[in-house]
């Protein structure tokens, strides 16, 4: 007859195995093995796009009127189940106040409105495709939105020489998962249109894992001790753009915002 501690140990081991199994299942559909890139690594090359409303708000949110009256329903906010795992974002109290202020003044404050580079991970789930171009030394992430681009250094890892909008990314493979570790962000980008933000202490780890021929699992751990009380995770599938002539097109939006940004400095006629 097994004693109590043996039973307890066995149950604990079973529970651990169950949890491990579940975590693994989130990352990769059991049994799916992606085709190989020519160098033997999983082939993540392709044009990908998120299909959710995280770009509006990464937390769960109801449908709501948009910030621009004249757009009516065309500019209204669709609902979202949220891509952040485990409930609301763990803001420090003063940071939460700032997030709410951001949200209340989003037209003036959201960097997306000004066509500024979107930062990470926002670039991934903007409503635009991006392309992964995979080589041994560098994996390039090329985003249609504002022509943003990230170089993921797969070898010769160094620290960020200076801060930037898209950060400095060092990458490695863990099995078929591309792990991208990014630091060296400035504090100027947001996570979404809802005012969720970060500081220059932001540290993002992304994991891209093939889950089927035309989908990836995208998991992100975000750490920013100046803004959040603990690290938090988001995850979502990414869908391959399968049109035969799919390509990243230009969204060179600087021109679209010049009047907004500089119109007040124009020479007034008659003066």
């Amino acid at each position: 007859m097994p004693n109590r501690s043996f039973i307890r140990l066995t149950l604990a081991a079973c529970a651990a195995a169950l949890v491990a199994g579940m975590t693994l299942a989130q990352a990769q559909a059991p049994g799916y093995r992606a085709p190989r890139a020519p160098d033997g690594k999983a082939n993540l090359n392709g044009i990908w796009q998120a299909m959710n409303t995280a770009h509006w708000d990464i937390e769960a949110h109801s449908a709501a009127p948009g910030p621009v009256l004249e757009l009516g329903a065309a500019g209204a906010i669709p609902a979202g189940l949220g891509v952040v795992e485990g409930g609301p974002l763990p803001y420090r109290p003063e940071a939460l106040a700032r997030r709410n202020e951001n949200r209340a003044n989003r037209l003036k404050l959201d960097p997306e409105v000004k066509c500024y580079l979107p930062g990470v991970p926002r670039a991934t789930y903007m409503p635009f495709p991006f392309q992964i171009i995979q080589s041994q030394k560098h994996v390039m992430l090329v985003y249609e939105y504002a022509g943003a681009v990230r170089t993921v250094y797969m070898t010769d890892h160094v620290e960020a020489p200076a801060d930037s909008w898209m950060g400095w990314s060092n990458g490695r493979w863990e099995g078929d998962t591309l792990v991208v570790d990014t630091r060296g962000f400035n504090d100027l980008s947001w996570f979404d249109r809802a005012g969720n933000f970060h500081s220059d202490a932001l540290h993002v780890v992304e994991r891209f894992t093939p889950r089927s021929a035309d989908t990836l699992n995208y998991e992100v751990t975000v750490e920013d001790p100046k803004v959040f009380t603990r690290p938090w995770k988001m995850s979502m599938p990414l869908y391959r753009r399968v049109e035969p002539n799919a390509q990243i097109l230009e969204f060179r939006c600087v021109e679209f915002v010049e009047e907004l940004l500089y119109g007040h400095l124009k020479k007034q006629s008659g003066k």
Partner: protein, 347 residues
């Protein structure tokens, strides 16, 4: 002809003793010293076989620069196609010295940060060396062909529109495209010398060649699947590119330009054909041909080699921190206000 002279010259970085002695960290000193190949060694070059990418494409990958002292057009008074090595050296020395020269205080030229303090003069970074007197190789006189009547008409219309728009600082839309951080000359196509930060990063994956232009983080992704050009109603600043390999040469055709950043006055129907061939570990032979019957009655071509350089290419986010636009416009408005008040005072 071209290839032989370019290959036998080799590529020099700042390690050449005849130019400025400043050589900051970041260059690969051993490599550049070793590469000071005397020009006299003009023997027939060994045929070069480029390495291949894992999927079998000739490997063009790495960091490259098209910084050069060679002008697009042959200077007036020069009739030959190539300088002697001594002449080329003298021209480079003079240009390098001029760039490092102190400007005269109180002049417009002095109202600028000093390029050399930021490493931005050509002598402080790798440049592609060539004995050519011009990048243009066709027409054979090294100069642009004449603009035809349709091209002249378009140029006149553009000039009239600019005049209509008012002064250069009346509005942001009147300022140069590059100052507005929309696109800069290095992106092309064709790839033109940007003046500084004239760098590119080429990365290849199966079916694609990607060219990242440093300024303004401009990426061209060139598909190699023989796809057709898009519908004429889709137009882009950089056009739409399609590529194919012809032996070891990547041939890229680009059409569907929006005509807003014309190469030397070209129309939106310009077609650019580029040819990239790795001819040495540290050099890509880059040739381009411009065809635009709406501007020139004949195509014209240039050769502008790409020299291997070192990275990284740091993010050139431009619009985000382009404080100069607001400063310039505000400055112009302040001057107008002061002039108006002065006028009022003297009435």
């Amino acid at each position: 002809m071209n290839r032989r002279s370019l290959v036998s010259i080799g590529l020099l970085t700042l390690a050449s003793p005849v130019v400025l002695s400043v050589n900051l960290a970041g260059q690969a000193p051993a490599a550049s010293a070793a590469r000071a190949v005397p020009a006299a060694k003009a023997a027939a070059p060994k045929p070069y076989t480029p390495p291949k990418t894992p999927d079998g494409q000739p490997d063009l990958q790495g960091f490259w620069t098209n910084s050069t002292y060679v002008p697009l057009e042959r200077p007036q008074g020069v009739t030959k196609e190539f300088y002697t090595p001594e002449e080329a050296e003298a021209a480079i020395k003079a240009a390098a010295a001029r760039e490092a020269e102190q400007t005269e205080p109180g002049t417009t030229a002095d109202v600028h940060y000093d390029f050399s303090q930021f490493g931005l003069d050509r002598s402080q970074s790798t440049f592609a060396r060539s004995l050519r007197t011009s990048l243009i190789v066709d027409p054979p006189d090294g100069r642009m062909p004449p603009v035809n009547d349709e091209g002249k008409k378009r140029a006149a219309e553009r000039a009239a529109a600019r005049k209509q728009a008012g002064g250069p600082y009346d509005a942001v839309q009147n300022m140069p495209i590059g100052s507005r951080c929309i696109i800069m000359g290095g992106a092309g196509p064709p790839l033109m010398n940007a003046g500084y930060n004239a760098n590119y990063h080429i990365v290849q994956s199966p079916g694609y060649v990607m060219i990242l232009t440093e300024m303004i983080h401009d990426v061209r992704i060139i598909p190699l699947d023989n796809r057709a050009a898009p519908d004429r109603n889709l137009r882009q600043w950089v056009g739409v590119s399609r590529g194919r390999w012809e032996g070891n040469t990547l041939v890229v055709e680009t059409t569907n330009f929006n005509g807003r950043n014309p190469v030397r006055g070209a129309s939106e129907n310009m077609k650019v054909t580029e040819r990239f061939t790795r001819v040495a570990d540290d050099m890509i032979e880059y040739k381009f041909t411009i065809e635009d019957p709406a501007t020139w009655d004949r195509p014209w071509s240039a050769e502008a080699p790409l020299a291997k350089t070192n990275g990284p290419i740091f993010e050139f986010a431009c619009h985000e921190t382009n404080y100069g636009i607001a400063n310039i416009l505000a400055g112009a408005r302040a001057e107008e206000k002061a002039a108006a008040e002065h006028k009022k005072g003297s009435n």
